[in-house]
Symmetry: C2
Subunit: 168 residues, 2 copies
Amino acid sequence: MLYDLIIVQFSKMLGNLNHILDKANQNADSRKIQMEVLLNSRLAPDQFNFIRQIQIACDTAKLCAARISGKDSPSHDDSEKTLSELKTRIEDTIKYLKGFSENDFAGGMERHISQPRWEGKYLTGHEYVVQHAVPNIYFHITTAYSILRHNGVDIGKKDFLGEMPFKK
Amino acid sequence: MLYDLIIVQFSKMLGNLNHILDKANQNADSRKIQMEVLLNSRLAPDQFNFIRQIQIACDTAKLCAARISGKDSPSHDDSEKTLSELKTRIEDTIKYLKGFSENDFAGGMERHISQPRWEGKYLTGHEYVVQHAVPNIYFHITTAYSILRHNGVDIGKKDFLGEMPFKK
């Protein structure tokens, strides 16, 4: 469950995001809007812009996998400014996630997870995944999606969810 | 894990949403805005409004618990128009969720889950929870949150996530 929730599903959601970026770019082209305008848009003046939402979504996935497995993660300096750079960030993150196997998460539910701004406090791996990482990644991907929807990009819930493995 | 993901965490998120509604109402009062204006706001003309986002978030939680456990769920006619009616809808859903125990979900991962518009196709319980119900509930709660943020309501990520069970 942990592996599916973190690795399989986060990879899928980041892949959906990559696909949404392509649709946004086509839409911007057809409306003669510079893609950078969309990338720098936000829903409120004191909220992060689209680029930052993507960076945080990627880091949420990367850091969750790293912390639950106890492995190191590559660092990113959040310098992306273009569509192509953002897509590379997403693809690098997916590649990093796909390097994990189920065994890497053995004992992950009980691991103590902390980060500098928690000032020495911790969550168990289980609490961190369910109450922190999962809500956070969906928060940032949905907000990125909403920024595009608000700006008239023609995307829908199916683009957000991706394909379902339906069976007959 | 399944019980925590569906019952404990969905209840928590709906409780956070209830708290966000109270903050929005106070904010509307202080700015002399009618709460109904916020409740009927949306981020794009072809996207659901705030009320509908809440109704769908509640139904996602309710139907997920019902389908995975194989139990019946109460029906709601989506007639909420006021803050008080929306809060009742949320509270009723939380009450419904809290009626489940871990045992109710035994075998839930393997259950075949379908709904009328899937035209006879199904997902396993595991696929349905990870790829459908979880992304959907966060999608609608985040969108509701974003509608308020976009309209200047003073809420932040902590209101969305709720309290973390930090330990020292």
